[in-house]
Amino acid sequence: MIAEILIVACLAVGSFFNILGIIGLLRFPDVYTRMHATTKMTTFGSVFTALAVIIYGVTAYLDSVNSQYAVLAIHTLIAAVALAFTNALGSHAIARGAHRAGIKPVQAVVDRLEEVGP
């Protein structure tokens, strides 16, 4: 029962943040701020949905000592870790590329990187 509530909560949080992330992607003015929305929030949301699956796997494993549910949990964990890892790195790469391509941050109050130069 607790597990079910946890799963629903995780899924709700996950879809909530995903939706917000997409809205941010559509609303924000420039590429860096959009990246804030997507990188953080969709990653967070997706990891939370994965977390729901992990909780499901663990509880199912504890219920019926069937190792396939443990496998489910472990593989989902690996997927989630890989997701977080690659997303952070990928958004850094895109941000760097965008800055090197000369895309200025809109409404920026300060740009220390511009002062350093390429």
């Binding site: 943040f17 917000l20 992330g21 809205i23 941010g24 609303r27 924000f28 003015p29 420039d30 860096y32 701020t33 990246m35 804030h36 929305a37 990188t39 953080k40 929030m41 990653t43 967070f44 190792s67 396939q68 443990a70 496998v71 472990i74 593989h75 690996i78 977080a84 890892f85 952070a88 790195l89 958004s91 850094h92 941000a95 760097r96 800055h99 941050p105 809109v106 409404q107 920026a108 109050v109 300060v110 740009d111 220390r112 990187l113 511009e114 350093v116």
Partner: protein, 175 residues
């Protein structure tokens, strides 16, 4: 040789994780263990020059590995949650004041700076845009630059985070 061994152990561990629940020797079947060892040797032979590029084996200490989950589930999770709620508010309200700051990390090793940059990217309204390869200073795009930060040329990494001292944690793990 140490590089080979380290890579082998890491790879073998990942392989065991992937094949958990396959048999009766612990969680694994005998053939999986043998295959894992063989593949581990192959992969270690190929990638040892990549994984251990600098001859720095401080990360081989198993205690540091144990710290990683603690770090991720503890301070990091809190920071991430706070940051996400913060950005979520900003998505809804649309109040942003972005800017790119120069952040002194204080990290010396590649791994440390790597973990710090990833943590920064995933946490508080900030994205690592670039890195000064000599001084290991990060250039961070922040969604809400305070007036205080705007004035400073270099911001310490600690001040980006609200609750936990993430740089100290990372230093504990990676350096």
């Amino acid at each position: 040789m140490i590089a080979f061994l380290v890579t082998f152990l890491l790879v073998f561990f990942i392989y065991l994780l992937l094949t958990a629940g396959s048999g009766s020797v612990g969680f694994w079947s005998a053939s999986e263990l043998i295959a894992g060892a063989g593949l581990g040797i192959v992969v270690a032979g190929i990638t040892r020059k990549f994984l251990c590029r600098s001859d720095n084996y401080r990360m081989t200490n198993p205690l540091r590995f144990l710290l990683i989950p603690v770090y991720i589930l503890g301070p990091f999770l809190i920071e991430v949650t706070v940051a996400n709620i913060d950005v979520a508010m900003r998505v809804i309200t649309g109040r942003i004041r972005p800017g790119i700051l120069r952040v002194s990390s204080g990290m010396k090793t590649d791994l440390g700076i790597f973990m710090l940059a990833n943590s920064i990217t995933l946490t508080p309204g900030t994205i690592t845009v670039d890195i000064d390869e000599e001084t290991n200073d990060l250039f961070v795009h922040k969604i809400n630059v305070t007036a205080d930060e705007e004035g400073k040329t270099v911001t310490p990494a600690r001040e980006l985070f609200s609750f936990a001292d993430i740089p100290a944690w990372i230093r504990r793990i990676a350096e």
